[in-house]
């Protein structure tokens, strides 16, 4: 019998290695795998490359990993959210590298990896500094910039319900990056609010089919994800 569940976040993240590339889902509080990230702080892996929309919040979860000096490089669209002071500090000291990419390009690059594509042309950023040095191509009279797939060794994602086959269901705005990141990493680890028996999720409410998921762990929500708005966004 297949059983992708593991009994603790500690066990779920045990195989993360120094230098690994990790995708981290979530946008604001919804869909942030905060318990997995806390477990990774305990676990100790460092020199990590993180792919995440923002720059982490304060001193816990992803913010905590940055604070602890465990992230070598961040690929993100908006690392200047209000709570990202740890990132700001390290970035200004030159202790963390940043690859800035527009949010839609970020998710599309991740999707390209998950979908087996070699790259794509997007109009976003043509003629701006974020396209500097990149290939520009005129297609049917419009200019596009070439973007490449983003892959990872691990994806940390968060869903509402999950079963032992790895099937996942999300509530409300939890899907955000989680659904796409689940397709683009070698090892996909899902933190869920609730483990349910196989068949409890209807065929139609499985948003991430188990084929994409390697480990599932049930964890009570980290209390700080309920905090009031901690992040801003660009205008």
């Amino acid at each position: 019998m297949i059983d992708k569940t593991v009994t603790s976040c500690k066990e779920a993240v045990a195989s993360v290695f120094d230098g690994a590339t990790i995708m981290i889902g979530g946008f604001g509080g919804p869909g942030v795998p905060a318990r997995l990230l806390e477990a990774l702080r305990e676990q100790g892996a460092s020199h990590l490359v993180a792919i995440h929309n923002g720059g982490g919040n304060h001193d816990y979860a992803f913010g905590g990993l940055i604070l602890d000096g465990r992230i070598r490089k961040l690929i993100a669209s908006f690392p200047i959210n209000q709570g990202a002071w740890a990132f700001r500090d390290r970035f200004l000291k030159g202790e963390i590298e940043l690859e800035l990419t527009p949010q839609g390009t970020l998710v599309e690059r991740i999707r390209a990896a998950g979908a087996g594509l070699g790259g794509f042309y997007t109009p976003t950023a043509v003629g701006t500094e974020l396209a500097a040095g990149k290939e520009i191509r005129n297609i049917d009279g419009r200019e596009y910039v070439f973007e490449t797939p983003l892959r990872a060794d691990f994806a940390f994602i968060k869903a509402h319900r999950g079963d032992r086959l790895g099937n996942l269901n999300y509530r409300m705005a939890m899907r955000n990056f989680n659904m796409i990141m689940a397709t683009a990493a070698k090892v996909v680890i899902a933190e869920v609010d609730q483990l349910v028996p196989v068949g409890a999720l209807s065929h139609e409410e499985i948003h991430t089919p188990g084929i994409f998921v390697d480990r599932v762990v049930q964890a009570e929500r980290h209390p700080r994800v309920f905090e009031r708005p901690q992040e801003g966004r660009s205008p």
Binding site: F27, E129, L130
Partner: protein, 229 residues
């Protein structure tokens, strides 16, 4: 008489027609929903995967899984939908949203927009601003006409890094409504009691005055400060 920030938001709201699908940025644009006419069905999109956003959640009634792109706890209207980031940015980049209303640091006469990075800003962040500026059918700007120092934000050419070239269609400020046309900037409306010349004096690019240029129709409650020409 200038408009207050709320007055600018009110004026933007007047131009959103029934059936608009709108992404609203932070700042003045975020004030727009309060002024949408109740008899028009208009759908607010948030790039984190929600379409059909309602009012902010009442204290104590927040759903932890439901925040805006600005990370505030929101509610959803009947008929609202949730989806992932890939679909959300397909809506944006694919031209499905009818309007994006954004703030700006600078707008150029040719529609160039600069609103993502102040020159010299040490930590950059772009979020969805570029995707919106490149993808949405109508990019509208809602901002004060001049900076805190009184310098024009509407210019012949942007000096800040561009968000997107030639993307802005309409500019709503505290003293004017200006369209970006193939022939340059066209003044459509001026704030109460102001002459077109007063707008021109505060604009850093050539400004033509539309034949039917008129006074903005905004309630007096939104009056800001008296301007000296």
């Amino acid at each position: 008489m200038t408009l207050t920030r709320e007055g600018i938001a009110y004026r933007v709201a007047r131009d959103l027609t029934e059936g608009s699908y709108v992404n609203l940025g932070v700042g003045i644009p975020s004030l727009v929903p309060a002024y949408l006419p109740s008899d028009r069905e208009i759908f607010i999109h948030n790039e984190n995967g929600v379409l059909g956003v309602g009012p902010l959640a009442a204290p104590g009634a927040e759903d932890p899984d439901l925040v805006s792109a600005n990370k505030e706890f929101i509610t959803l209207l009947p008929g609202a939908s949730v989806f992932d980031h890939a679909i959300s940015f397909s809506m944006i980049r694919g031209g499905h949203l009818t309007h994006a209303v954004m703030g700006a640091m600078e707008v150029a006469a040719n529609g160039d927009l600069a609103n993502w990075r102040v020159p010299g800003q040490k930590v950059p962040g772009v979020g969805g601003a570029m995707d919106l500026a490149f993808g949405v059918q109508n990019v509208w700007i809602a901002m004060t006409h001049v900076t805190n120092k009184g310098e024009p934000k509407i210019l012949t050419r942007c000096s800040c890094p561009l968000t997107a070239p030639r993307c802005v269609r309409r500019i709503f400020t505290d003293i004017a409504v200006i369209d970006v046309t193939p022939d340059g900037l066209m003044l459509r409306e001026v704030a109460r009691g102001l002459e077109p010349e007063a707008v021109r004096a505060r604009t850093g690019a050539p400004l033509r005055v539309a034949d039917d240029c008129r006074e903005m129709d905004v309630p007096a409650a939104f009056n800001g400060v008296q301007l000296t020409i």
